[in-house]
Symmetry: C2
Subunit: 448 residues, 2 copies
């Protein structure tokens, strides 16, 4: 069996590794466009900050280790140009030499990931204009960081927020532009305010409701950012307003795609083209609560989808259950996490939803230290089923959102949530854990 | 309606407060033997250590505040001597004056708690021999702490471990005696070793498999501890080998008790005597997994059971779902938590059980800091249902055991556990959370 995986990070390598596990004799080739495989791209902000010393620290396996330990051929700096699903071939180009060659496959895994979305107005030739997807992107930013007196971050999503922290930690004056009138608009309003406060406390200059209209370029460098009438000088710009799935290769091969461009896949990560699987940030997935197709480009999902694709290729009866999705970000000392549907997402999916928000300290009131947890529980207005939750606070909020993720998965009701038996000790939680308070409050809101 | 609650901490006050909520006109009397009500007894080790400054810091409401805000009569330093369930009266003694009086009731809540178990060999008249249950106990220990060069802690359960930390933090040379051959014998062996290592690292002298046979007393003070042939000098002794439910009052009134002495109650916290409810550490409860009666003297349960008793007294259709139980303790920098059944407990309940243990770092491998989580998942050998879990590690282990508590409650299988969608960010978790690794490993162990 010949497997070709296009993309050598979370999804592609997980698929390839699963195939190796089940088929020791398979002929496996991994095609990677960049100079790195098997790296944790979620760690890039911490590489930029310097908390992580070397690019190699982010890497689990080098190409040589993959060759040796997993018997995989890894083609670095190779780009897949086209797929012929009838002939079952992929045309790849060596980006170093320009040589184009053809690979045969029995099974093809497309794990081409996603790229940073950059609107036409912000597309310029400038050596201080960055996006952050690859290790090379991270290296480029870090190499220039010493020259940055001021940096402009465009887009206040998770990556934008994490990069604000990274730049501030390097002593760079950081300005954040967010087109919407609040940060993290999928979260409760008070969370947006808390994140804003945390950014301001740490010296980030934040401009909400501010669309960057133009980057002023001079001598091959962005020199200033224009938003409306206001022009602010800058030494560098990072654009992180979202991502677009790299689905062109699959689409040209005839695979169906979703309205947002993500490759359509079923629960086995099969595309609509026989012999071609897709997984990771280039592919669509399913929401476990609504059952609807969705797009959730997260490292957790990519890894799991890759495993499912690999297992399915080997004829194993495995399917991907979908995503809640659960996610968390750290913004300086604040942790913000979510799982399942927000009230708005539920309403958009035609599910009648309500929500309830509480604030509760994460330790016994008399125990020093600790911090508040704010938890929002989203529930089905008719059945009381927990549909989702969002939380913000100290690091303990991550564990609480995980517990709520389990409750969402188990289709618990708010009543059942309020009756949970959770751990308690003064340094760890109050006697009524914030989750229980959130559950009780949600019961009251639901009964109204 | 006349309510009398005997016991003014978690269970008794929760019951009284629920009655006040539902019956604004009820005549409520709370009888409290000690000089404190409404205090968090789980905070006492931290009061002894000095981390919590004043006894009052542990108190949510003073008797005066309860009188004013909740319209309760609080009889401090009053002991209930006897109950006449036919006449519906309680005889109480004012411990300050010796005056005995009689209270009428329509509903009686017995929340007399538990006392430290002290074997006959360790019962001595000595002013440096302590147990830790009441605020007064905590004050007595703290007042003497300045004179303690060396302290002997007898019993290595949660309270013994927390008190070792408290004594060490005051610079007292601390020796721990544990009769069993390892600490926390309900936990996996590696957890016992980890806790032992943590104690030793922090300078605690630990004697395992060592029964203290005698306390040598001279001049009204314990001067030494004898275990077998070995005599070790000491300046104070704390006995914390377990607790016994204070059920004598209920038993004399005719209420049934369990073999361990705990008052038998149903799901509404009713005793077998009409008009008398019991809750908290004096009462039995139910295990949510096995359905069997059990004894789980924990603050969380006491609070919830009190609420149920109060609601039931007011005719509300509320029942107590039982306990997993979930619990956690902090031993210096180590957190140890459990939920549901251990493998041994499951076997004892006639449930065929298996278990699987994993170790996984609680952050991305490349992210600095963090600590290992060791997680043990106990599952039903036939159905794969998750029956319980134990965890040890950094503080993040508490949140993970809570997530597992939800899984146990929801009757998830190990397969479902392995398919959860949990939050991920490098500072918070690895891309495959320890819970997922534990779930995967349990699937493998289950399928064997």
């Amino acid at each position: 069996m010949k497997l070709v995986a296009i993309g050598g990070t979370a999804a592609g390598l997980s698929a390839a590794s699963r195939v190796r596990k089940f088929l020791p004799d398979a002929d496996i080739t991994v095609v990677e466009r960049t100079g790195y495989v098997s790296y944790g791209s979620c760690g890039l902000p911490y590489f930029v900050s310097g908390l992580i010393g070397e690019p190699g620290d982010l890497v689990s396996f080098t190409p040589e280790q993959l060759a040796e330990k997993r018997d995989m051929k890894v083609l670095m700096h190779h780009e897949a140009l086209s797929v012929d699903p009838a002939a079952k071939t992929v045309e790849v180009k060596n980006l170093d030499t320009g040589v184009v060659s053809t690979l045969d496959y029995d099974a093809l895994v497309i794990a081409t990931g996603a790229r940073a979305a950059v609107p036409a107005t912000l597309r310029k030739e400038a050596d201080n204009l960055f996006t952050l997807r690859s290790v090379e992107d991270g290296i480029a930013i870090r190499q220039r960081a010493g020259d940055m007196g001021r940096v402009s971050v465009i887009g206040g999503g998770f990556i934008g927020l994490e990069m604000c922290e990274a730049f501030v930690s390097r002593g760079i004056r950081t300005t954040l532009y967010e087109a919407q009138d609040r940060l993290l608009p999928g979260m409760p309003q008070v969370f947006s305010e808390a994140v804003l406060k945390e950014l301001l406390k740490n010296g980030v200059e934040v401009h909400l409701g501010t669309q960057v209209d133009e980057l002023l370029v001079s001598g091959g460098r962005v020199t200033a950012v224009r938003a409306g009438e206001t022009i602010r000088e800058t030494d560098a710009v990072l654009v992180c307003i979202g991502v677009r799935p790299n689905s062109e290769l699959a689409a040209v091969a005839g695979a169906a795609t979703e309205p947002n461009g993500a490759i359509s896949v079923d629960r086995h990560q099969r595309t609509t083209v026989p012999g071609i699987w897709a997984c990771g940030d280039c592919a669509s997935t399913f929401n476990r609560v609504s059952g609807e197709r969705c797009y959730a480009p997260l490292g957790t999902n990519a890894n799991k989808q890759g495993r499912v694709a690999g297992a399915d290729i080997c004829g194993k009866d495995v399917s991907f259950p979908g995503v809640l999705p659960s996610q968390v970000t750290k913004v300086f000392d604040l942790y913000c996490a979510s799982t399942g549907l927000s009230e708005q997402q539920a309403e958009n999916a035609g599910i009648p939803a309500g929500s309830s928000l509480i604030t509760k300290r994460d330790r016994a009131s008399y125990y020093p230290g600790g911090s508040d947890n704010e938890l929002c529980v989203v529930f089905h207005r008719e059945t009381g089923r927990v549909l989702g939750a969002q939380g913000i606070g100290g690091s303990s909020v991550a564990g609480r959102i995980n517990a709520l993720a389990v409750a969402v998965t188990a289709e618990m009701t708010v009543q059942e949530l309020s009756e949970l038996d959770l751990v308690y000790a003064p340094p760890v939680a109050p006697v009524y854990d914030p989750i229980l308070i959130a559950g009780e409050n949600a019961v009251k809101a639901w009964r109204k």
